[in-house]
């Protein structure tokens, strides 16, 4: 009997440990179960266009603004219509209730910052909808997987940050998962 209890306890320990440690996200398009910023995995035919979204899951506080840098291989993907390819996602209050600044002048690099503002007050992002940003790409390269890198390098220009309406920075995400475009 003692042996059975010991074995059962070990099984419970293993299950608990697996459940706690597996919180880094699922690597796909499903929403992770911890505070994560993650990119969409998209597929596109050679020469075609696709939109890659950047999502936010389970923030510990409601953000009113964010900034981020996205890196991509410009020999394989190009922005459709230049700067117009970079648009806020559904989590951001619709225009004119936000301020955005974006820069794609360096090929392969997108820098963007967004805050919610209705002209009189700061407006929080809608965290019920997790879509922060949409980027429309055209596949110009050979078939293969192209990373959509969400830059988390310390000190990088426009390093990924989220801010509250109180102008306080929210702690960094537990996990950041890059997106990808698979050119077929």
């Amino acid at each position: 009997m003692y042996r059975n209890i010991a074995v059962a306890m070990l099984v419970v320990i293993a299950m608990l440990a697996a459940g706690c440690g597996g919180g880094g996200g699922d690597g796909g398009n499903g929403e992770p179960d911890v505070y994560t910023v993650y990119g969409e995995k998209a597929e596109v035919a050679q020469g075609g266009t696709t939109t890659v979204s950047i999502y936010l899951a389970k923030p510990p506080a409601t953000p009113a603004g964010y900034q981020m840098t996205i890196n991509y291989d410009a020999s394989k993907l190009e922005l459709v219509g230049g700067m117009g390819a970079v648009q806020v996602g559904a989590a951001v209050p619709a225009s004119p209730n936000h301020i955005i600044a974006k820069n794609a002048s360096t090929v392969g690099v997108i820098q963007v910052t967004v805050v919610g503002w209705n002209g009189s007050n700061i407006v929080n992002l809608n965290t019920g909808t997790s879509e922060l940003l949409n980027i429309q790409f055209r596949a110009i390269g050979a078939p293969g997987v192209v990373a959509i890198d969400i830059d988390t390098t310390a000190g990088a220009p426009t390093q990924l940050q989220l801010w509250t309406s109180g102008a306080s920075q929210i702690e960094p995400p537990v996990a950041v998962i890059d997106g990808a475009v698979t050119i077929q």
């Binding site: 510990p60 603004g65 600044a101 820098q111 910052t113 940050q161 109180g166 102008a167 306080s168 920075q169």
Partner: protein, 148 residues
């Protein structure tokens, strides 16, 4: 080798201790995401513009955040700060200095939000504490010529 009842009992006690530790870790590290502390610094959210922000002293030029030098915090100031955030190489050090409202040496989205808080009347403006700026040089007259 066969394990005695004593060995099993020790194993069960050890397992119970590990279970308790895991439960504590789960409660603190895994399950508290929705209610954890929100911000890296306290946001007072002082309404009515009566303060809540520490004055940083007078400046020689425009007040921090007053990018268009009109003396009023607006969405336009925030937009100009955000333009610097995404394209810092195209702006000079003076503009970055004015944009750095939270005085941390980096122009970031939080600086724009701080200006917007002032525009909304949530915090006092100007951030420099108010009052006329000091003259750009000590005294109003040019320095005397050097003795030859």
């Amino acid at each position: 080798m066969m394990m005695s009842k004593r060995h099993y009992a020790i194993a069960i006690i050890t397992g119970a201790v590990i279970l308790g530790t895991l439960a504590a870790v789960l409660l603190v590290g895994c399950g508290g995401g929705d209610e954890g502390p929100a911000e890296s610094a306290a946001a007072t959210g002082a309404a009515g513009g009566s303060g809540g922000e520490e004055a940083v002293g007078p400046s020689a030029g425009p007040d921090p955040g007053d990018m268009d030098s009109d003396g009023i915090p607006t969405g336009n100031d925030a937009q100009l700060i955000m333009d610097i955030v995404v394209d810092p190489d195209n702006y000079d050090i003076g503009e970055k200095y004015i944009a750095d409202c939270n005085l941390n040496g980096v122009v970031e989205t939080g600086d724009a939000l701080k200006v917007l808080r002032a525009a909304a009347g949530e915090i006092a403006w100007p951030f420099s504490g108010g009052g006329p700026p000091p003259p750009p040089f000590p005294g109003d007259s040019p320095p005397p010529p050097p003795d030859i």
